[in-house]
Amino acid sequence: MIRTLPTSKTYNRLFTFYVILYFIFLFAPLLVTCVLAFNDSLFPSLPWKGFTLDWFTANSEQRVGIFHDRINLDSIWVSFQVAFYVTLLSTAVGTCGAFLFEQEDFRFKQLLYFLMLAPLVIPGVILGISILLLSNTLGTYFETSWNLDIELFRPGFWLVVLGQFSFIATLVTLVVSARLRKFDRTLEEAALNLGANRFEVIWHITLKFLRPAIFGAAALAFLMSFENFNTTLFLVGYEATLPINLYLQVRDGSTPVINAISFLLIVGTSLIALANLYFSRKAE
């Protein structure tokens, strides 16, 4: 049954076989995607026709590698910018949220806490359409009543940022809260007794303690934003983010350039994931 109990060989073998099978299932699609990024063929499929870096570096009529592919490069840049603002915004507001729910007391706290958790149970598609609706309502209102045409209310860059922020801030709040709960509040009291005010205490003591959690949450926020599809789908304007752009290409047929982008994404996210894991282990 378990490691401390005597078990039959067949049981152990079968179990190990099952787990190996699962890991093959888990990694097969990623591995195949990566390998085919280097295949010297016009299609992302076998047979293997030899190793090439064309899908990264080529710039000929038949083959345009990712480093010369304007549309894909642009969408990567858009995604970077979106992720940057989402990270900034959601880390700031999420950290406020952590302080609010862990250290403050006020009426209707329970209700507000429940609202803060709500984005976790709202499907991303619904979040997207409802934010689209509100922005449209506001846009129409300002246009008919004040004759103002406000860019923000139309699908586009900033609406995508806000839409992603609306649920990523919840994740940041939860991550930072978990760390804040472990904070020894007598340290704060000591500083307050020594004459510091609340904000000085937070700035010099509590935030120092929270730093690893805040960086971890920011990394998570960046990645979540960079990869978001469901919410973004409804809010995107003419500047497509990378997932939207990739989706359109995958839907209408594919070239190994998509494999090359996927390869870069897999390597990039794995590095962020491992770094995040390493630092959060170290912090504990």
Partner: protein, 285 residues
């Protein structure tokens, strides 16, 4: 001192309040209002139940809804059946020195964008795909077979995408299961199945429930996987919403659909929590 405290509260409260009211509460109120607005033949907007009525009158709408719900239940169940032995192996069977490594290996693929994972499955499964290539090479198949665009492949993709959210809560709940309980049962002559159903599953219930809730919810709201891996006949309800919003430009109808999906998803979360007497707060942590 008290003045200071009030400022701190205000400082933390205002951004959070702004975020929750403007980005969460107001949009959903707007969604609800829009779903009850209807454009009459002479172009006037009125209050009406028409958007909801047409949902029940058009079989394609409610059939898609029911199908999405049933398939989501199936996906949740399959995910659970695959995840439970896996979580058990990692927490109780494998040598402790491999435990950490296996956990990291298990989590790693889920950091990668869902789109990339779905794309990987597409190039594995399609007619000119990698699996077909090997099957023909090995002589199992004479002609390539289209494995993509079927309900079964869509289910496969959805299970794959959801695994993480089932494995992690079950692993964390099994870690708190005392090995000596299983040892005692074993010494007293219990067989594997009674240990599974009388000790392991009862202990793991809270993890199983929170995993199932999350998986069900995410499957229900998934758009990418059904859209890219499912066939013409495997329409998902989120695709209906997308069609109303983007293709037909009937936002009122789309809002009604969106609200129905939100209601179903919230209902399931609520039921799951009620049945096991947990609250959302605990599940999240």
């Amino acid at each position: 001192m008290t003045n200071n405290k009030r400022w701190a509260l205000l400082f933390f409260l205002s951004p959070v309040l702004l975020w929750l009211v403007v980005m969460i509460v107001l949009p959903h109120i707007d969604l609800l209002i829009m779903s009850f607005r209807f454009e009459t033949d002479d172009g006037q907007m009125t209050w009406s139940f028409n958007n909801y009525l047409s949902f029940f009158e058009e079989p394609i709408y409610w059939l898609t809804f029911v199908r999405t719900a049933l398939y989501s239940i199936l996906v949740t169940f399959l995910t659970l059946v695959i995840a439970l032995p896996l979580a058990f192996y990692i927490t109780k069977v494998v040598a402790p020195k491999f435990q950490g490594f296996l956990l990291v290996l298990l989590l790693l693929p889920f950091w990668v964008s869902e789109l990339v994972r779905v794309y990987g499955w597409m190039i594995l499964l399609r007619e000119s795909g990698v699996i077909n290539h090997f099957l023909i090479r090995l002589g199992v198949l004479q002609q390539p077979v289209e494995m993509l665009y079927k309900d079964a492949t869509m289910i496969l993709g959805l299970v794959y995408t959801s695994m993480l959210f089932m494995v992690v809560p079950i692993v964390s709940v099994l870690e708190s299961l005392d090995d000596s309980l299983i040892e005692a049962a074993y010494d007293l002559g219990a067989n594997m199945w009674s240990i599974l159903f009388k000790i392991i599953i009862p202990h793991a219930t809270s993890g199983i429930v929170s995993g199932s809730i999350v998986v069900f919810m995410l499957t229900l709201g998934n758009y990418l996987t059904p859209n890219l891996m499912g066939g013409k006949n495997s329409l998902w309800f989120t695709e209906q919403i997308y069609n109303q919003f983007i293709a037909s430009f009937n936002w009122n109808q789309g809002s009604a659909f969106g609200f129905l999906l939100l209601a179903l998803s919230s209902l399931v979360v609520w039921l799951g929590l009620k049945l096991t007497r947990q609250n959302l707060q605990k599940v999240v942590q």
